[in-house]
Structures are given as structure tokens and as C-alpha cells.
Symmetry: C2
Subunit: 402 residues, 2 copies
């Protein structure tokens, strides 16, 4: 038994769209007790079960472990030079003509050893874990052959606290006819990936990437194989992505920078979570999606980091919270809810994201008592102790004090 | 003697406005040797003096210590709640009516003990130092009485690697007639601050703050006392701030979000450095100043963090570089130049900001060889070793690897 006592406990059981701290479902002077990998008590410190290991939170803020529902964490190659070219004014097409873009990551990833891929992904995963992200979704998509995609899936599965997603339709493999790749993804890759541990499937609906009918085919194949469907939708162009995600019963529609009112209404009806990725919009100098209109329509909003080598390389949880507030228009409490309960919903993980008996013992104890401090004093990670599956991961940084 | 060998040395002796890596003045396989607090050699590793302590950089990137020319680092009180109110839609006036704004920091700062003020400022200073900022300008301005301003100055002077600036005209002290405060600043505070170690003087020209004639009086008093003048100019409204800064011979004009072409031309003629503060614009959801038009006009551009409790609380150097690129339009090399040579020029510190014999032995060795990596993989601090005045401050973080 492990009990955190005297904490400001954010159960994340409030309504996300509510004002002030209501989304957090706060218990002042609260306790959370864990038995093995599960939570067994959430309530006032006075009523917590006795015995076992005790952490005295001294009034500090305690949340569920953060759930990042959208990353491309397994890759080789550094596209910093491409980012610099873009900053100097190069267009996407010019960069692609110079050998940049997704394909450059595919080449570097294919050329890297398993060990190198695993080691670099593990370092990224470790930094995120230390700052409180106990669950990370990780997409494949830089393999672009059946064998290479399954290899990336294997590496993703070997990381701790990862939810692996097959992103078969990320780009057309160099030298392959697109219809053939779509068929391979649907007929061969998807069922095999499901057997080998993939939990979700995803596709990149965009001009220059894949069409609605191609994405539909891939996600329907995924659903048949028992995978949870997601869709990269409406990032660069309004392509009816939200509607398609709703139509396919996707757990999440991700990006949504260009989604119109009809698209928002469609995902509201379907119960699809909107995964907003404000740091990607920041990185690409795009207009970020406003969370407000999604919340007003009754859509659950999650925040994802979208860590990837091409269009977003900021892993910082505190910067994601800051961007969720400053760029997406969430309040601090709504952003915290989006990074916990929202992320869990986006991945259809019923066992986490909120603090209740029976849920996974994933907790973050921060160095402050004030939830508003986290997106305010950003750029510093404030997680003081991270508990994953009931195990304490210790003090992550030496300098997390205010 | 301390020598860093086999480094990619960025001397920062290139022209800031140049394309690609030209601003960096790179020496490949270079060395920098320091004797005590001074640099004695900058050139190819092969020609470096023998003996003393050697750091093998193994090809990694070496820069001058970063110079942050604009902070308000000494304060008490946390305005996270005010930031949350602003995110929820409250206006500046509503926040002020609820007791927020600069005056709330003044109250908290006056109420704090010297020890508490020093300890919190030291923690902030330490985080910045670890990520490579060897010189930080620190403004007073939360005292608002002669005695309280001198107290803040004393605390700023007791921090390491700090350039203290008197910001007398920050706000009108509660309950005092404005003309009286301006007179006290000019006649009493400024000469006394100069005697007690202030190096610069500053004033806040803005609607609701101080007028051009009030700022002129304060900065002229500062110049008479031997202080280097700076001006908070054109942040929220185009108030002819750049022109006033140029007219007064200011070392820097800071903010400049609303500066027009005539203002840019004026500071170009005067040789006044433009200190851009893109993280403040990000934090306040303002349109940031574009560096491009300043560079095109021949103005030197520096980047400042503007760390302060009200309108910018992000201390991260890597986020400042990222914001300098993504929000202000600098290339990575220009942003690095702005954070080193640019900062030194903004403070008229001729002894640092570039790597040349005779300059201060302030160096940062990064964990990457690629300058483009720093604003790309932002949110992680990449300084691996920081050398300040010839002393190695060691490996700052355990997890700075790519």
C-alpha cells in the first residue's frame, strides 16, 4: 500500500467546460491510496486507510498521471536543418525537393539499428515520464513497408507506459504505387499489427497525403482487426476530416486546425474526442485550433504534444499546458483536464485519467499547490514525484521549486 | 589555464543579419583557452596553447555565455491566478480592479524578507545560469519608494553575474502624486542608486504608465549619474518610444511591438539596440515584434526573456531561442547571435558576447554540434557545461542528450 496524504487532489471528475477550478474536481487535504497497480481510496486524508508507505504532500497539487494521446516518438534523424530552412522562408515543397519531409525520416529510421531507435525513443520517453506523462501514445509511420512498420511497432511496444498505434497511411512509400500501399496496409499490415500488440490505428487525411476513401479503408480494416481508430484531420486544409472521423466512430480526431462548425457538430454527435496539438501549430506558424468552440459544442478536448522530428519537437509538458491555454484558449484547469482525463478518453482508456478507486495508480505530485502555476511558470517541469502503476519514480529534477 | 578543444566554436563575430550560419563566425575544430577570467586564445585546436585543464568538446557546439538584457528577476508573490483570470477573459482593468497588476507584486515584495527575496531570485538566476545565461540584467521596479528600490538594487547586486538596472519609473506608488514620484526618482533615487552599484536606468513609457517627458527626465538624470539608459517602448501602444530612446541615446529600446518605420529608422541612426521580448508577446497573446524589419534597417537585435511575475514567467533559454525564431522571425544563427553578442550590445558590455582574446571567459558547451538543434528541440535545456568567469559550473542537467 502506498498513500499520498495531505494533497490538493485533482480527481479530474468535474466537467471539462466548467469555469474556474471546477473541472479539477478538487479534494482539499485529500489522500489517494494505491494497492499494487490500482487506486483503492480517493477522499479526505482523515478517511484514508492506515499502514503502508506514506508520502506527505504538504498541501501540494496531486493529479492523475498525464496521458499524451498523440506522438511519433520512435524515429531516427534530426530535421533541425529543415526547421531552420523553414524559418529562413523555404516552403514545404522546396524542403521536400531538397530531400526533406517525412521521407527523410523514413530513410534515417530504416538505416538506424533497433538499438539506436530504442535508445533515442527511450530518452524521449524518459524525459516525458519525469515530467508526469505516465501514458504516451506512440505512432508508427516512419517505416513505410510492412516489415519496417512492424519493426517500429515492436520498438514502441518495448517502451514503458506506451499505447502503440499503427499509422500505416502516413506517406506513400518511395517508389510504390499508392493503391498498392493502401491495399498492403489494409490486408496485410493491419491484421498483423493487431496481432503484435498495436492498440490503435490512424491515417493521415490531407492533400498530398491520403484521401478520405483511402483513410476510410485503412480505419475500417483497423476496426475489423479490433483496433481503436484515430484520424489526422483538417490540419492544413479543411478536408471534411472531422466528419469522416465521426462517421467512422473514431475515438479521436486529431489536429482540427481547419475544422468548420459542421465538423465540430459531427464529432460532438459521435462522441469523438478532439485532440488539439497547439505546439505543432506554434512550430509551423499556423493558426492553432480554438478549444472554445469544441467545448461549447460539447466535445471532449485532449491536448497532445505531437512530438515528431518534422513539425514539433517540444517535449515539455509545461509548454504543452502553456500552449493549451495561450494558443488553444483553455483555462489552466481545462488544460490540466485535457492532459489527463481528455487524453485517456482520446485513447479509450477507461482505467486512467481520473482519480477514483479501481483506476490505475498513475499519479503526479507537483512542487506547487496551485494548478494555475503550471501553465504560468512554464518551461520548468514541476513534477516532483511521479507514480506509475503504483511505483514511485522519485524526484525528477533537482530544481523544481518555484 | 582552461582550454576547450575540438569544438564547433561560434565566435559570434559574423554580421547578425547574414544568412545561414554566417552570423556565428564558426571555427570548426576550434579551441578557446582561458586564463583566469579572460579568454587568451580563440582559433584552431591545433594552435591552442598547451597545458592546464583541457575539456574535449568532441565536436560539440561552443558559444559565448548568453546575455539576457531584460529581466525583472527580483520579486515576491505569484501572479499565476491573474494569468488564469486573463486566460478566462478578464481584461487588464478588471484584473487591476481585483487588486492585480504591478501593485500586487509591489505589496508582496515589500512584505517579503530580504532572505526570501534573495532566495527566490537566486533560484531563478541559478536555473538560467545552468542553461547558459552567464550575464543577466535585473531591473528594480517593485519597490516604488526610494528605500524599497534601493533594497531591490542591493538584492540584485548580491546575485552572481547580474547587471543591475534602476527602473524607477515602473508604476506610480500607491497614494503618491505622480509628479512627486518622478521628482524623487530623478533627484534622490537615481544618484543614490548609481552610487550603490546600479549600472543602467530604465523607464516604462506607456499609456497608463509614464509619459515621454517623465521618462526623458528620469533617463537624463540617469545619464548625469553615469547610468546606461534603456527604455520600455511601444509595447502596447505606438507612443514614439523608439524615437525617444534614440533621441536620448539609449543603449537599448525594449519591447517595440508597435514601433513604426520612423521609429526603426530613428534607432538605426542612433545605434540603439532593439531588445525584442517575444515570450512576453506570447504570454500576453500579443502580436510579437518582427525582427526582420529591424535587421533590414541595420538595427542590432537582442532577445530578452523579460522574466517577471505579471506578463512573462518562462525562464527557459531554449524557449526564448524558439520564440525568437518562430515569433520574431530570426533564423537560428541570428537568434543565437541575439542572445550573446546582441545582449552584450544592449547592455553596452564590450567585454563579452563574442569569443575573442581579452573578452570574459564566459562559455557554453552544448550537448549537440548543431546550432539549428537548439531552437528546434526546445523545451529541453541543452547546455552541458557552463563556464562563467573561467570557472566550470559543471553538467547542468542529467538529461540533455538528444
Amino acid at each position: 500500500m502506498l498513500t499520498v496524504r495531505n494533497a490538493r487532489v485533482a480527481t479530474m471528475t468535474g466537467a471539462q467546460a466548467a469555469a474556474g477550478n471546477a473541472p479539477l474536481g478538487l479534494i482539499e487535504d485529500g489522500a489517494v491510496a494505491c494497492d499494487g497497480e490500482r487506486i483503492v481510496y480517493v477522499g479526505p486524508s482523515g478517511g484514508a486507510p492506515a499502514g503502508g508507505e506514506i508520502i506527505d504532500a504538504r498541501g501540494r497539487f496531486l493529479t492523475p498521471g498525464f496521458v499524451d494521446p498523440h506522438t511519433h516518438l520512435v524515429f531516427a534523424g534530426d530535421r533541425a536543418g529543415e526547421h531552420a530552412q523553414r524559418l529562413a522562408g523555404a516552403t514545404y515543397l522546396e524542403i521536400a525537393a531538397r530531400g526533406g519531409g517525412i521521407r527523410s525520416t523514413v530513410e534515417a529510421t530504416r538505416a538506424a539499428t533497433d538499438e539506436a531507435l530504442l535508445e533515442s525513443a527511450r530518452r524521449r520517453r524518459q524525459r516525458m515520464l519525469r515530467s508526469g506523462v505516465t501514458t504516451v501514445e506512440v505512432k508508427t509511420g516512419y517505416g513505410l513497408s510492412v516489415a519496417d512498420e512492424l519493426r517500429l511497432l515492436r520498438i514502441a511496444c518495448s517502451l514503458e507506459g506506451v499505447v502503440p498505434t499503427l499509422l500505416g497511411l502516413h506517406a506513400v512509400p518511395p517508389g510504390m504505387e499508392r493503391a498498392r500501399w493502401v491495399a498492403e496496409v489494409c490486408e496485410d499490415l493491419t491484421p498483423e499489427a493487431a496481432r503484435r500488440g498495436a492498440r490503435g490505428c490512424d491515417a493521415f487525411l490531407e492533400q498530398g497525403a491520403f484521401t478520405a476513401s483511402e483513410c476510410r479503408a485503412a480505419l475500417e480494416a483497423g476496426r475489423r482487426a479490433g483496433l481503436v481508430p484515430h484520424l489526422h484531420a483538417d490540419q492544413l486544409t479543411a478536408g471534411g476530416g472531422a466528419q469522416l472521423a465521426a462517421n467512422l466512430g473514431c475515438a479521436s480526431a486529431d489536429h482540427l486546425e481547419k475544422t468548420n462548425a459542421a465538423g465540430i457538430a459531427a464529432i460532438a454527435r459521435a462522441g469523438t474526442t478532439a485532440v488539439l496539438l497547439p505546439l505543432a501549430a506554434f512550430f509551423l506558424k499556423q493558426q492553432p485550433a480554438s478549444a472554445v468552440k469544441f467545448l461549447e459544442a460539447g466535445v471532449t478536448v485532449a491536448l497532445g504534444s505531437n512530438v515528431n522530428p518534422g513539425s514539433q519537437r517540444i517535449e515539455s509538458v509545461s509548454m504543452l499546458l502553456a500552449a493549451g491555454c495561450l494558443l488553444s484558449g483553455l483555462t489552466p484547469a481545462q488544460a490540466l483536464w485535457a492532459c489527463t482525463a481528455g487524453g485517456a478518453r482520446a485513447l479509450r482508456l477507461d482505467d486512467r485519467g481520473v482519480l477514483q478507486p479501481g483506476k490505475r495508480a498513475d499519479l503526479v505530485l507537483f512542487s506547487t499547490s496551485d494548478p494555475d502555476h503550471l501553465p504560468y511558470h512554464a518551461g520548468v517541469e514541476h513534477a516532483e514525484a511521479v507514480i506509475q502503476g503504483g511505483k514511485i519514480l522519485g524526484t525528477p529534477f533537482g530544481d523544481t521549486l518555484k
